[in-house]
């Protein structure tokens, strides 16, 4: 607490539990939790590594009821915009009209130009947000891995909405 203002990180898991409880959902969501976390050391310097960008935004303006699937598109030229109206983000506090606020293609192109990263994968990937942890782990994550390997990507930057 500074100046009487709460600047602690927002407790999203607790906040959403109370929110959906108030909506009448009786079973609280169980968030993914692991004791371990896998870690890969850098196989080569960043300046020689090919980076792939992964987002949870979508290529088209989905309805909230549309089933979501893994999708990919060319990074250059980047899409004029991506879509996230069907996702939960703070629609009162901010907006997502500026692509650079959630899809960092310009800084990545600059980093490649300046030699701070070796290269960029030709395409980026959209991973669908899913309540089903099983579907993310067993279907979508392996598909993203397959596509990253096709891209010959060495490292991945993941940016959730």
């Amino acid at each position: 607490m500074l100046d009487g203002v709460n600047r602690q990180p927002v407790p999203y898991m607790e906040r959403s539990r109370l929110y959906y409880e108030a909506q009448g959902f009786t079973r609280a969501y169980t968030w993914a939790q692991f004791d371990d976390a896998p870690f890969s050391p850098m196989p080569k310097p960043l300046a020689e590594s090919k980076l792939v960008l992964i987002t949870t935004a979508a290529l088209y303006d989905r309805e909230a009821s549309d089933p979501r699937y893994v999708a990919s598109a060319p990074l250059v030229p980047p899409p004029e915009r991506l879509y996230a109206n069907d996702l939960s983000w703070d629609k009162n506090a901010t907006h997502m009209e500026d692509r650079g606020s959630y899809f960092p293609v310009a800084p990545l192109l600059a980093a490649r130009e300046e030699g701070r990263i070796g290269d960029l994968a030709e395409r980026f990937h959209c991973v669908p947000t899913d309540y089903s942890k099983r579907r993310t782990r067993e279907v979508d994550a392996p598909e993203i891995l397959r596509r990253c390997r096709e891209d010959a990507a060495d490292i991945a930057l993941l940016v959730p909405v």
């Binding site: 709460n6 600047r7 602690q8 990180p9 927002v10 407790p11 999203y12 898991m13 109370l18 929110y19 108030a22 009448g24 959902f25 692991f34 004791d35 371990d36 976390a37 890969s40 050391p41 960043l46 949870t56 009821s65 089933p67 996702l87 939960s88 983000w89 703070d90 629609k91 009162n92 506090a93 901010t94 997502m96 650079g100 606020s101 959630y102 960092p104 800084p107 600059a110 980093a111 701070r116 669908p128 947000t129 899913d130 309540y131 942890k133 782990r137 279907v139 979508d140 993203i144 891995l145 990253c148 990507a153 060495d154 490292i155 991945a156 930057l157 993941l158 940016v159 959730p160 909405v161």
Partner: protein, 128 residues
């Protein structure tokens, strides 16, 4: 939910030899799941790469995330970036439950349950 999804994907990539950085704003969800490298931007959900129309901030944030690839030497490394949103009102307001909006939330919940049921009945859900 987006933060959990990318955390699960990041874990899968790491387990298969691809180093990752997650650049996001929901600290508790990402750390609960556990990822290798996390660049934390304490902003309202939706702008993890920086404020809209502030290209200089966006470049600085992304550059910090890139540096984390080489700076982290162990899993669960979180780098908290120093940027502040201009006000803090959003912290309490997001997903707020109050006596004033309880009836509205209950109505939303009823709508959502009915919609889900209709989608399931119509087979318009993922089957994998």
């Amino acid at each position: 939910m987006c933060h959990q999804t990318v955390s699960l994907v990041a874990r899968h990539l790491e387990a298969n030899g691809i180093p990752t950085v997650v650049l996001g704003s929901a600290l508790d969800i990402v750390e609960h799941c556990g990822v290798a490298r996390f660049a934390f931007v304490d902003f309202p959900l939706g702008n993890p790469c920086g404020k809209p129309d502030d290209a200089a901030m966006q470049t600085s944030i992304v550059d910090s995330a890139l540096e984390l690839f080489e700076a982290a030497h162990a899993p669960r490394t979180t780098l908290a970036l120093p940027w502040r949103w201009e006000s803090d009102e959003w912290r309490e307001r997001y997903m707020q439950v109050s006596p004033e909006n309880l009836a509205e939330l209950r109505r939303k919940g009823d709508e959502r349950r009915a919609e889900r049921q209709a989608l399931r009945a119509a087979g318009r859900t993922r089957q994998e």
